[in-house]
């Protein structure tokens, strides 16, 4: 590099450097993109072509998707997942906002630490007692049961991320409202709430994605009536179950919606994930 920098005129060196950066970037990003490309491409592939991994061009076959609709419980389970993840996200968001606000403004560090510890409990440790209690009170295989269990994901995560966003809202604004005669609650509702909307959007989407992707909770606590999308997708883990085409079609169906969300609000998501990790 250094030698080239000396040899070439400045302009051509810059062009060369730009090209070089993009080549490296593409090489780095390619394996990450390839998995998703393969997922989609093979969802259109007839099953017999799976035995010719070198074949990339073929007549696209959309029937893999209709087969998934007809032969598996993926569609009803996607609907279930939407209900469960949305409910868990909304509850987690409200709890997260309220707790994050008090933690940030009253400096409730102990509460924040307690919530962080709950994030460390492995689901499997909690699942044994969950299952025992649910069996007793009949919550296995119900919406309420799975939504409650998903709150273990969304509430601690919601609190933790909202804390980062709320700490970024200057306190002076609330104080100005207090002086003008607003109560703390009013200042919270009229000043903090509107200002934290972008943070809430990012938090909600992250909570939703984590809840949507969660497999273990519904695997144990769900059942024949109520289960979630990952559980349906898991049934395809055996290639004998529906063939490679259906496998990839099912995977594509649950992955694509999330990607659209990510593309739409990439910036806020990055902010949310970074705040959740670093602070």
């Amino acid at each position: 590099m250094v030698v080239l920098k000396r040899l070439l005129p400045r302009r051509s060196y810059e062009i060369l450097e730009t090209i070089g950066t993009h080549v490296v970037l593409l090489a780095v990003v390619a394996p990450f993109f390839f998995v998703f490309f393969y997922m989609f491409w093979n969802s259109l592939k007839p099953d017999y072509l799976f035995f010719e991994p070198g074949t990339w061009i073929f007549e696209p076959l959309w029937s893999n998707y209709t087969d998934v609709f007809e032969q598996s419980d993926l569609i009803p389970n996607i609907a279930n997942s939407l209900i469960i993840s949305t409910s868990a996200t909304l509850i987690g968001l409200v709890c997260g906002l309220l707790t994050a606000y008090t933690v940030a403004r009253y400096n409730l560090r102990k509460l924040a630490m307690a919530i962080l510890v709950t994030r460390m409990i492995p689901y499997i440790t909690a699942l044994v007692p969950f299952w025992i209690v649910y069996k007793q009170v009949g919550l296995l295989n119900t919406y309420t049961g799975i939504i409650l269990s998903h709150l273990v994901i969304t509430i601690p995560f919601g609190v933790w991320i909202m804390m980062g966003f709320i700490e970024d809202i200057p306190k002076d604004l609330e104080e100005a409202a207090w002086i003008d005669g607003a109560s703390r609650t009013q200042a919270f509702l009229r000043i903090v709430l509107p200002l934290s909307t972008p943070g809430m959007v990012a938090t909600a989407i992250l909570c939703f994605i984590f809840s949507w992707n969660n497999f273990q909770l519904a695997l144990v606590l769900g059942g024949f009536d109520v289960s979630t999308a990952p559980v349906s997708v898991f049934k395809y883990a055996d290639p004998e179950a529906g063939g490679s085409g259906q496998m990839m079609a099912a995977a594509t169906l649950v992955t694509l919606p999330v990607f659209f969300i990510v593309l739409l609000i990439q910036k806020q998501l990055t902010a949310g994930l970074t705040i959740g990790g670093v602070k």
Binding site: H22, F32, N42, C95, L98, I155, D180, W212, A237
Partner: protein, 316 residues
């Protein structure tokens, strides 16, 4: 920063107390009780969803409860905590958990640091590359497991197809005991490197520029700048990323169950899967509960060791 005194009224409200109407009294009460009232939902939910199960799992762990073969549990003391240690499968599971977490987090760290430094440069189309880069982070782990199952296929997977194209022998990726865990580690690295990149990139962007200028003037090489300036300055972010990722690595479940089911012959079974099978396939509730408690303590240990390390690096 001035700490707001607890239970203080907003100053404006205090002056208007004279109004004394019901609405104002409600607001006043809310102001005074805010830290309690606002936390009621969170505390109630988390208490019910965490404290109750934790006490129940402790109680269960001291019994010999098995759903089918021993439905009436008896108190057995610490039996469930002692017995697993003579079980090779459980010892193996601990070892696999450890190996999986160390290897996958190590791989993620090296790749994550390299890519974070790459993304820290300025170039056109950054948003595009970053979106693609973020995809694995938000992809459903069960769904991407399906793709990797096809990749790993012995006869028709593209990995072996590629190896054969290079004139090498194919590998039994997920059907041989010596490769199964390695394959899962590859998937783990693929899946979670972007998160590492994200945290380290945030760290790199927050670094001061002066030390780098000074080093450049002193004629330091790029490698020297990385080892002596970037890494020490980045230590907080590195430790945070390592702590988070190793906890998640220890807990990994979805990809392992979907890709190998802990097999072949338990060669890739981690603690999480072992407990899952114990509880929900063999229905040994007592033993599974004890192992679950141990698993939680194991995670707490990993966490506190890493936090200790982080404190030590800070005083440096």
């Amino acid at each position: 920063m001035a700490v707001t005194p607890q239970n203080a009224l907003a100053p404006g409200l205090d002056e208007r107390r004279a109004r004394g109407s019901l609405g104002w009294r409600v607001l006043e009460w809310l102001d005074l009780q805010m830290p309690i009232v606002f936390n009621i939902p969170t505390v109630v939910f988390l208490f019910g969803l965490v404290a109750v199960p934790v006490s129940l799992v402790l109680a269960t762990s001291f019994t010999d409860w098995q759903l089918i073969t021993k439905p009436d549990p008896d108190f057995v003391g610490f039996d469930n905590y002692v017995k697993p240690w003579s079980d090779d499968r459980w010892i193996g599971a601990i070892w696999h958990t450890f190996a999986y977490a160390v290897a996958s987090v190590g791989g993620q760290f090296v790749l994550g640091l390299a890519t974070a430094m790459l993304f820290n440069r300025s170039f056109a189309g950054k948003a595009f590359y970053r979106s693609v880069w973020m995809m694995p982070m938000v992809a459903m782990s069960v769904a991407i497991s399906l793709v990797w199952i096809l990749f790993f296929d012995n006869a028709f997977g593209i990995l072996n197809h590629g190896l054969e194209g290079l004139g090498l022998d194919g590998i039994e990726w997920i059907t041989s005991p010596q490769w199964a865990l390695v394959s899962l580690i590859i998937v783990g690295i693929w899946h979670h490197t972007p998160f590492m990149t994200l945290i380290l990139l945030a760290g790199l962007q927050s670094l001061p520029q002066d030390p780098f200028e000074a080093a450049r003037i002193d004629g330091a090489s790029r490698w020297q700048m990385l080892v002596h300036i970037t890494l020490p300055l980045l230590k907080t972010h590195i430790m945070v990323a390592l702590i988070l990722r190793s906890i998640f690595g220890v807990k990994e479940f979805d990809t392992i169950l979907a890709i190998t089911e802990g097999g072949p012959r338990y060669a890739s079974e981690t603690m999480n899967l072992n407990i899952y099978f114990n509880a929900f396939e063999y229905q040994y509730m007592g033993e599974a509960a004890a192992k679950g408690v141990f698993f939680f303590l194991f995670i707490l240990c990993v966490q506190s060791i890493l936090v200790k390390l982080r404190k030590r690096t800070w005083s440096y």
